[in-house]
Structure formats: C-alpha cells, structure tokens
C-alpha cells in the first residue's frame, strides 16, 4: 500500500519511538487527528518530551512530595518526589490516583447555586455573581461566620481563613474530617502535650528496630503516613548485616500490617491499651529491663493485675510474658499506637501506656524509636491542626442555636463523615447561608446554597507543613501543574477579593492575590536545602524543588517526660449489652478509599482490596465459624445493628478475624460525590454514635457491640480472587513462607 511518507509522519514516528514496540505491525494513517505544530514552542514544551512539575499530594494530610509528568499541558502521571524528606520518591495507591481527582468527569464546571437546599437542582451563575452573593452574605454576617475545613487544606488558605475570622471576630476555622478524626490525630497530639509538653504528632522510625509491638496500628495501610512507614518497614525488613526485625501486631482483625507481621495476636477489641499497660507492668515486676528502666516502668504504671488483663484481652498470660521479654530484651524496640486505640472511650490512657513502653524501651529520639514531629520552621507557616471532637460538637451547637449566619465549608464533608447522631444536618438547617467550595458536589455541598468550586490540588497553589514529619521540619510546596480543567477559581483568591470589600477584613488581608501571600510566606522561611537568596530565587526554588526543608536535618531531640504521670487504665466500657449485641464492631479505613474521599476515583474503586480482593463494594467480614453459626456465606446480605444504628451489606468470610468480631471498611456509602461513588456500598459511620472519649478529643468508635441478622438476600461479591481456589486450593501447603 503505497502511502507517501511525509515529514510529519517521520517526526511522529520519531516522537513515538518509545511506543514503537507496542505499536509495531501496520499502522494505518490517522486522518482524523488535527496536528498542531508549534511555530515557536513555549518553554518546556517540545513535541514528545515530558515536563515534570514538583508539587504536593493532598490525598491525605501527610503531604508527600510528588512529581507530575506533563505533556501538551496535560497531566499524565504522578510519581513521588525523590528529594522530598517524607516520602523520598515513593507514593501509595491514593497518591497515584490523584490524576482522577483532577480529571474527574463529575466536577462542577462552574459556580452554581441551589435555591432549594438538597434539591440537586443547581443553577449555574457567573463567577462575579457568585462572589457578590458571598460578599453580601459575609458583609451582613459580620462576626457570625463559621469556617469548616479539613486537614488537607493548604496552609496558606487556612492562614487566610484564620486571619479573616480573626478580623471579623468570628470563631477560628474548624478543622475536622473523618481521616484525622478516625486516626485520632488530636488525641495523639494531646497525649504528647500531656507527656512531653509539646502538642505534636509522634513519629516512629522503624528502620533499625529489632522488635516492633504494634497495638492495632495499620501503619502500612492507612496510618499517619503509609508511604513513609512503608519505607521504614522496607528498611526494617532488610537491615545491615542481614538483620531482620520482629514485628508483632496486636489487633482483632488482620490488617495488611498484621499480614506482614511475624506474629499476629488477635486480642479483644478495645483492650490494646490494657495489654500495653500489662507489658509495662510485667517489665516492672520481672525487672526484665535495666534497673532504671524497670524503675521508670514502676513509676509509670499503677499496680495492674496482669491475670485479669489477660482474661479481658483474651491474650494468654504467657503470651504477654513472652511479648514483654521480647520487647524488653531488644536493643531497639518500638511500640506503635493505632487508630483503634484512640477510638476507645479511654483512648488517652491507652495511648499513654503505649508511649510509656517507648520510654521504657529507651529508644526515644534514637535512629529507631519515638520522636515528635518537629514544630513549624517559621511562625508564618501554619498547618491546619485537627480540632477536638468536642470543639466540633460545640460549633454544631452554635449552628443549631442559630448563632451562625454564614457557614463556609472547604474540603470537609461532615454530612458524610459524621454519624447522624452528631446532628450536623439539622444544625445546618438553622444556618441561613451555607457556601461550599467543593469541586465535586458531595453530601455536604448538597446542603449548600452556593457552591464556588475550588481548584483541585493539581491546579492550585499552596503549601503543606509535612506532618507527621520524621527527622526534619519540611514545608511541601504546591503549585499548579496544569491549567484548570474546568472553570474553577481558587478559594484563597475569592476570599481575598471578598475581604477587600469588608472594612474589618480589608487591612487584615491586603494581598492582591494568593501568590503574593505565598511568596511572602516563603520569604520568611529563608534559604533551605536549595539555598539561594532574595524572594525571587527563594520562591522559584520553592516551586522547582517542591518545597522547603533545612539544608542539614537537625539532631532529633528525644522527647522527655514533662511530668511523671501515673497511667490509670481501666477496661473499656462497650455500648450494647453482650447478650443482645454478641459481636464487637471493628471499623477500619479502606486502604484504597481511605475515609471515603477516594470513592470518586475509579482506580481506587476498581482496585481489589489487598486482604479480601473485593472492589467496588462494602462488605462485612465474618470469621468462618461465625458465618457458619449464622448460616451465611459470601455475598449473603446481613443486617448489622448497633445500639446507634444499622446497615445492610454482603458478608465476606474472612479467616483472619476474631470469631466474636465483625469488621467493616469505611469509604463507601456515598449518596453523592460523583458517579463512581454514588449509591455504592454502605457507610459504617451510621453504626457509630456521637459519643466521644473521656477527654472529649476524639470519637469513640471502637467500643461498640453489634448484632447480626441474615436478611436472606444475596448479591455477587465482586471478588478478584477465586475463593474456591485460594481456600480449597493446594498452593497454601507448598507456599514459600
């Protein structure tokens, strides 16, 4: 077939060199493509050559550095930033899926308003009109403006919100979302405050540890920074001189962290703290560690009855002894507190007990052990600290009492995150005007009068104070890597514009646009590892390097006991009587959808869950025996009822869970939030009531009992594995352990 070979073809082929291997064979012409040659290509754009931009991942609060591959002004791939101190070039599944946040087909194409809240009829309006409405409302509201944002909000926007609220005399912006709430960020910080005198997230470097006791911490799945802990774990497994650490995972349901653990101890839910205490107790009694450490143990723990704890936690006494031995005799031992701990009604004590173990281990501040996330390198750099559960309830009270004229919701999705007992929705009903900045209409934006879609993190400016940050303070820079896909505007710019019209706020927010404000912030950071001087250079390098971090990491300071508290531990009180509600409820954030914000991304929805290989669905994990008792099999829909609520979901028989426990993953059950998330699965937060822990700083979700009733209905479980093969298959026997 004689087809004349034009120069363009030649260039195309040249450019497609990479693809030739997979596109060999006959390649017919592609007449319907409109080729667009550049007369004078803009900088960084050569045909077929990718440009990489450094920015920050905002799929979770940690703030990993990312590099985005851009071609023709389109984002093709996200990879970790190798220079970034936190993730060092690596990314988790959620980070990889960031592109589908950017290119989500269900994003709002422009500002819309809802004349009737929850009606799902959105009238588009011009940006000016939208901003004007917001301006009028804010101007009228004066100080009665509440801002509800989440922990992944950019530091600079949070800063501006704060300045704005302060200027108009409103309450300071509330940071509350399920991710931080569920993982007990606030409680962790509070306990650090109490023990070590500084409110900061504890970080645990594991790469040189001999023994790790993980108290229900799924640090490899949905911990505080799965990526960093993944790296640490890699080091932990292959240490110098062929040393290989020993990981013990204590949790009622096998998470992926337990799957890779050397030893899994399925203890009774809610008793993690007790067990930690018991270990301290044993070390103190048996004087397993050196005298001073034993003494420290003695001082930290009041007399605990190991026997009763063994009974309560369903962990045999000799097992406890063995663990205590292993822990105390290790030269490098670390104890990790998990989300399940902070979810109990007595989370603070439980946490303290675990930290006590770390102190006794004496590894605090060492190459492997407990350190505290360093403070912000400059007071100009803010990070949205998660609010206490009680603060959040307080705001909701104000809203219900009608003390809030205008509610600005940015990033947060309380309507989905919170159990309905918390009463967000009825509270919102009493707020005259609600404005949301959600790019996709989520459950909360549904109840907003005005939606001014913000840009996604790949289109917008910002920075994030890396937290938890392991060895050094770091500010991760965020810059637009593509021009906005839809007609969206930066909330920060909107806020600055609006503020200009409000006298009180005008001088508090004098910047023409957010970039000016950001530059100012970066200037105050001063030269970092990238060096340079002068605002232009600093700013440029901040963007180019993907952030700011010190030239040389400071010595990690060992957290020392501020006071010498005695940790009182009592066994948790469960809601729901044992006879009526025979099973423990154990919730966990899905490794892919995390707290539900991943549900809008097909890559995360469609990828099989590592442990069950289920995708697209919510499932209820039951131990085979339990399933047999109830006479249910895979896919049988059961009704799970707690004293607080109920849900119906298909059963997934799961061999690695306590027979008296039922596990359900978070993440599904959206009623909005785009086509991929909507009307899919169930949201187990329906089962959790409004009860907080003793200190009121975190939601007590792990001390619940439930009952199970087969409904008789059945759905096909979307399994990727063939269960017959894997459970009855022959490979297990000869699998290389």
């Amino acid at each position: 077939m004689a087809r004349e070979f034009t120069r363009r073809d030649f260039l195309k082929l040249g450019a497609m060199g990479a693809a030739t291997a997979v596109m060999a064979g006959c390649q017919p012409p592609r007449p319907w493509i409109t080729l667009e040659p550049y007369v004078r290509p803009p900088e960084q754009q050569l045909a077929g050559v990718a440009t990489w931009f450094a920015s920050t991942c905002r799929q979770c609060p940690a703030g990993c550095g990312i590099l985005v591959r851009i071609m023709n002004g389109r984002a093709l791939k996200i990879e970790g930033n190798p220079d970034h101190p936190l993730n060092q070039g690596k990314l988790c599944a959620r980070g990889q899926a960031g592109l589908q946040v950017l290119y989500n087909p269900d994003r709002l194409t422009g500002p819309v308003q809802q004349s009737q809240r929850g009606s799902r009829t959105y009238e588009p309006l011009a940006w000016e009109a939208g901003i004007n409405t917001l301006y009028e409302k804010l101007a009228a509201a004066g100080g009665r403006v509440a801002v509800w944002t989440n922990s992944t909000v950019s530091g600079h926007l949070f800063d501006l919100f704060q300045r704005f609220s302060a200027a108009v005399g409103g309450p300071s912006p509330l940071v509350y979302d399920l991710y931080t709430g569920f993982n007990g960020y606030r409680l962790l910080a509070d306990v650090s405050q109490e023990l070590f005198g500084r409110a900061a997230l504890p970080t645990y470097s594991l790469s040189h540890a001999d023994v790790i006791l993980s108290f229900g911490a799924d640090f490899l799945g949905t911990g505080l920074s799965a990526v960093r802990y993944g790296r640490e774990f890699g080091g932990f497994r292959s240490q110098p001189l062929g040393k290989r650490g020993y990981l013990v995972q204590l949790e009622p349901r096998m998470s992926i962290s337990a799957a890779v653990a050397d030893h899994w101890v399925p203890l009774r839910p809610g008793t993690e703290g007790l067990v930690a205490g018991a270990l301290v107790q044993i070390i103190a009694e048996e004087e397993l560690a050196s005298a001073d450490r034993a003494a420290l143990a003695q001082s930290l723990i009041g007399g605990l009855d190991v026997g009763s704890i063994a009974a309560a936690s369903d962990v045999p006494a000799e097992e406890l002894l063995h663990l205590a031995h292993a822990f105390a005799s290790a030269s490098q031992a670390v104890a990790l507190p998990g989300a399940a701990l902070t979810g109990t009604d007595a989370g603070a004590e439980a946490l303290a007990a675990v930290q006590a173990l770390n102190l006794i281990a004496g590894t605090a501040g060492e190459a492997s052990g407990l350190t505290l996330s360093p403070p912000s390198p400059s007071e100009a750099v803010l990070s949205p600290e998660p609010a206490a559960f009680s603060d959040m309830q307080a705001l909701i009270e104000q809203m219900r009492a009608g003390q809030v004229q205008v509610l600005l919701v940015h990033g947060a999705n309380p309507a989905y995150d919170l159990p309905e007992q918390v009463g967000f929705l009825d509270a919102v009903a009493n707020v005259p005007f609600v404005a949301s900045f959600a790019p996709i209409v989520d459950e909360t934006a549904l109840w907003a009068d005005l939606i001014l879609p913000d840009r996604t993190y790949l289109e917008g400016w910002g920075y994030a104070l890396v937290s938890p940050s392991f060895d050094q303070p770091a500010v991760s820079g965020q810059q637009p890597v593509v021009t906005p896909v839809f007609d969206s505007r930066s909330t920060a710019d909107i806020l600055l514009t609006v503020a200009r019209g409000i006298p009180a706020a005008a001088q508090a927010l004098p910047w023409p646009h957010e970039v000016a404000f950001l530059q100012e912030t970066v200037e105050q950071l001063g030269p970092g590892a990238a060096g340079g001087s002068g605002i232009d250079v600093l700013w440029t390098r901040f963007q180019q390097e993907g952030g700011w971090w010190p030239a040389s990491p400071p010595e990690p300071e060992a957290p020392s006991l501020a006071s010498a508290p005695t940790i009182q531990l009592q066994s948790p009180s469960f809601r729901g009587g044992e006879e009526e509600y025979p099973y423990h409820l154990y919730l966990y954030p899905s490794g892919l959808l995390s707290d539900g914000r991943g549900a809008s991304q097909p890559w995360l929805q469609g990828s099989p869950d590592p442990m069950t290989t289920v995708s697209w669905q919510t499932w209820v994990e039951l131990h085979p025996e339990t399933a047999e008792e109830l006479g249910v099999h895979d896919g049988d829909i059961v009704q799970v009822t707690s004293p607080e609520g109920e849900l119906e979901a298909p059963v997934c028989v799961y061999p690695a869970i306590r027979p008296d426990t039922v596990a359900i993953p978070l993440g599904q059950g959206h009623t909005d939030y785009g086509r991929y998330a909507r009307d899919r699965g169930r949201n187990p937060m329906q089962l959790v009531g409004a009860q907080a822990d003793a200190t009121g700083s975190s939601l007590a979700w792990s001390t619940l009992r439930v009952k199970i009733r087969p409904t008789g209905e059945k759905v096909a479980l979307a399994l990727f594995e063939n269960k017959v093969g894997v459970t009855e298959g022959f490979l297990n026997a000869e699998f290389p352990h």
Binding site: M1, G25, C26, E721, N722, V724, G725, V726, E728, G729, F730, L731
Partner: protein, 484 residues
C-alpha cells in the same frame, strides 16, 4: 414381479430350479439391497421424486430454522459490535462454547468421509446407498466448525491475517502455532471432502439432468459438466475416486489429531496429554457414526427411502458404533488414570469436581451416554433392528460426546496452577450462537436434500450388476464379481 419376468437381458439373474431356491432368493432380496434390483428408471424416480415431494411441514420447519439462523446472525453482529463481553467468557476461561462446537462439528463430520472413503477402500458393499448422505454431513459439519472458529475470534474482521499470502503487513502467519496447523488441516479437509462429494455426484447429476426440466435442468446441466458416461469418463472417474479415497483418509485422521493438539500442545493441566490425538479421532468417529445413523433414519422416513436404506445398513453401522463405544471408553480411561496416578495437584481438584463437585451429574450422564447405554443396548439385534430405539441411543451419544468436549474446554480451563485465578464459566450469548449453528446445519441439509439426489443411484446400479447369487450345494449365496 419376479426376476424371471424381467425382459431386460441385462438384469436377468441365473435361472433357478426348484422352489426352495426361489424362496431363498426372495429372502436374500428382502435382506440385501444389492440383490434386490430395480429397473434404472424406477430407481431414478425413487431417487429424484423426494426432491419434488416437499410437504408443507417441510417448509414450516425451514422457516423456523431460518428464524433461528437469523437470530444467530443478529447475535453475532452484536458480538462483533460490542465485543466478546456478551459471551460468558472470562479469565482464565478464554475458550468456551465456540471451541466446543468446533470440536463437536468437526467430529460429526468425520463419519461421512470415513464411510464413503474407508469403506470404499475396504470394498464394503453395503456402504453404497449411505455414502452420500454421510458425506453431506461432513460438508455442513465442517462449514459450521469453520464458522464457530470465526465466531470465537476477538477481531473476526481480521481473520484473513491467518492466510499465508504476501500482504502489506509484510508478515506471514506463525507456523509454530497449532492454530495454523488447524487452519491448514481444516482447509485441506474441507476442500478435499467438497471435491470428493462432487466427484461422486457427477453421474447422478447427469442422471438428474436427463430427467428434469426447467431451472433444475439448467442447473444440473451446468453442474454435471456435460457428463455422458463414456468409457474414458468412467475410467478417469474411477481412478479419481480411488485417489481421493486413499488420500482423504490420512487427512481425516490428521484433522482431528490437530484439533486435539490445539489443546494437547498447551501446558494447561488436563490438556497436555499425549493420547489426545487418537482419543479425539475415536470420539469424532463415535459421534459422527451416531449422527449418520440419525440422519439415515430421518431421511428414510421423511423421503420414503425404505427401498435404499435397509436393516442391513443400520445393523452394520450399529455394530460399528458398539466397537467405537468400547474404543472411546478405553482411551478415556487411559487419559483419566495417568494423571490420577501421578496425583497431579490440579487434576486432583478437577477430578474431584467431576466425581463429586458441581459437574458430577453431568459427568455421570456423559459416562452413561457414551459407554453404559451403547454397550448395554447395541449388542442386541432387536435394538439394532429397531430404528426408533437406535436413534434414541444415537441422540444420547450426541449429548454424551458434547458434554465430553464441554468438560475438556471450559471446565478444565477453570483450574490452573495458580488457584487465585481459577474460574467458572456460565455461557451467555454463546448459547444462542450454538443453537443457531445447529439450526444452520439442519437447514442446509434439508435444502441440499431438495437439490441433490441423496442416493448415489449409479453406485447402487453398479453394485447390483456385479452382485449375484451363486449356488453352492443347497444354498444360494450372494457372490460378487469384480471387473479389474
């Protein structure tokens, strides 16, 4: 009328003295077609009449079948447009009903060639009236098999990439691939058997030409290529038939061997077995002969061919069927016991599934159909002589053999060495296309039977000429005289 009164000297039998011999002669005539001569013109009518005698029910059936075929065509179009997703295939079960059908159809095709070629070479005389009816099954069986392969392709519009010809892709097909061998073998076999059946048809087409008018006359004039029956024509005709017979037998064997190799060459547990070749051939003949018996019975009834198709034919075929049943069992057993004895892990599971798993009922049904039933019934002459019973047995054999292929293709495929990716197969659009394929075969056969004489008149006449009665002692015995 009795033989003596035939005023045609050609057809006069040796004179008989004495009644008893006459009775014997009568008896033998009733038994053997070749001893029961008719005038050629009568026989011509017997062979040609059924082609005009089409009852309304015939057309009703034709319409119904065409409907099914149309449905199949639509389904296939949808499959091409949407993709194979509308079938029940999945991972790891990449081959499903289409391949089952292919194997099955090629299988039933085998008997035709076997009867007309092998029995001809072996000079088995009773084959004469049934050879063409059998070959026709081959013809349409192969057609359906070819179509099934096309239905199976993911991008069927590129099927011609399998043909070895110089092309703009600069690429020749890969002769490492068993599918290429398969392609070549089926091509050869289809071409060969088509020419074979046409060759045998020539004299009868001439006969039809001489006794028809109108469009049929014109059609037969073209098809018969101006056959006159001169010595030269007959001589060449005979040699050609002999060559075809001798050549097409090995081709027939190669075809089903290669079909079996499509499976045996892979490393799929349960497939890579050295015995698959002969095992498949026997299976093919088994289902094929059964199919021929069914067809014989049907055309005998519907086209009133009682004169041509007699008990001796059903009897011979049935005996053959019995032997094949045993042979099949032998091969199946050897194919079963070896992996069983090795204790190959995957096959352990597969056998469990067959013995007491979800497939157990079907598996026992298969064993019943393919072994128990034939062996239990076909030994008895009463069954063999009872057409209805015989047809029932044959239908069961069809079911059994189809199941056997079904187990081999989508069931075995579900079990491999990585249990994580095992699978189960629930056929969907494939079912419609399977029904349509069967409908198509029947439809084509029915239409064919209205255009082409299914009875090879010249062969029977030839047989009757050279078959005679010889008196030895007190008995009259059929004796065959063959000109060399």
């Amino acid at each position: 009328m009795s033989v003596n009164e035939v005023e045609h000297p050609v057809w006069r039998r040796p004179l008989l003295e004495g009644e008893d011999l006459a009775e014997q002669a009568e008896h033998l005539k009733r038994r053997h077609l070749l001893l029961d001569p008719k005038f050629p013109w009568e026989m011509n009518d017997d062979a040609l009449k059924p082609m005009y005698r089409t009852s309304p029910s015939f057309w009703v059936i034709v319409v119904a079948l065409s409907g099914l075929v149309m449905m199949g065509a639509i389904t296939w179009f949808r499959q091409i447009y949407w993709g194979l997703g509308i079938t029940g295939l999945n991972r790891p079960i990449y081959w499903g009903l289409f391949l089952v059908n292919t194997v099955y159809f090629i299988g039933i095709g085998h008997a035709g060639t076997f009867i007309s070629a092998a029995l001809r070479v072996l000079k088995i005389e009773w084959r004469r009236p049934i050879s063409r009816a059998a070959e026709t099954i081959t013809l349409f069986g192969l057609t359906a098999a070819g179509l099934s392969i096309l239905m199976h392709l993911g991008r069927v519009w590129k099927f011609y990439w399998l043909l070895p010809y110089p092309n703009q892709r600069q690429l020749w097909p890969n002769f490492h691939s068993p599918l290429m061998w398969d392609f070549m073998a089926i091509l050869t076999y289809l071409t060969g058997s088509t020419l074979f059946i046409y060759l045998g048809l020539l004299p009868d087409l001439a006969m039809a030409r001489d006794h028809t008018v109108g469009w049929r006359y014109r059609l037969y004039s073209i098809l018969s290529l101006g056959w006159r029956g001169t010595e030269k024509e007959w001589a060449y005709h005979k040699t050609a038939l002999d060559i075809f017979s001798y050549v097409i037998i090995p081709v027939m064997f190669s075809v089903h061997t290669i079909v079996s190799w499509d499976f045996a060459m892979s490393i799929q547990p349960g497939w890579n077995s050295t015995i698959f070749g002969p095992y498949f051939i026997v299976g093919a003949l088994f289902s094929g002969v059964a199919a021929v018996i069914i067809v014989m019975a049907i055309i005998r009834k519907s086209m009133r061919l009682e004169y041509f198709l007699r008990h001796e034919h059903f009897d011979g075929m049935a005996k053959f069927l019995l032997i094949l049943s045993f042979t099949w069992a032998y091969f199946y057993f050897s194919d079963y016991i070896v992996p069983w004895y090795n204790g190959e892990p995957v096959m352990k599971v597969v056998f469990d599934v067959l013995r007491r798993g979800w497939a157990a009922p079907l598996w026992y049904l298969m064993l019943f159909c393919n072994l128990l039933l034939p062996v239990a019934t076909l030994w008895s002459r009463r069954v063999r002589s009872n057409t209805a019973a015989l047809v029932m047995v044959c239908i069961y054999i069809q079911i059994g053999m189809y199941l056997e292929r079904y187990f081999i293709v989508p069931v075995f495929l579900g079990y491999n060495e990585l249990p994580f990716s095992w699978g189960t197969y629930i056929p969907r659009a494939g079912v419609l296309l399977t029904i349509a394929s069967f409908a198509m075969i029947i439809l084509l056969y029915m239409l064919f039977s209205r255009v082409v004489p299914l009875i090879p008149v010249w062969e029977i006449l030839e047989g009757q000429i050279f078959q005679g009665l010889k008196r030895i002692g007190r008995a009259l015995l059929p004796a065959r005289s063959e000109p060399h």
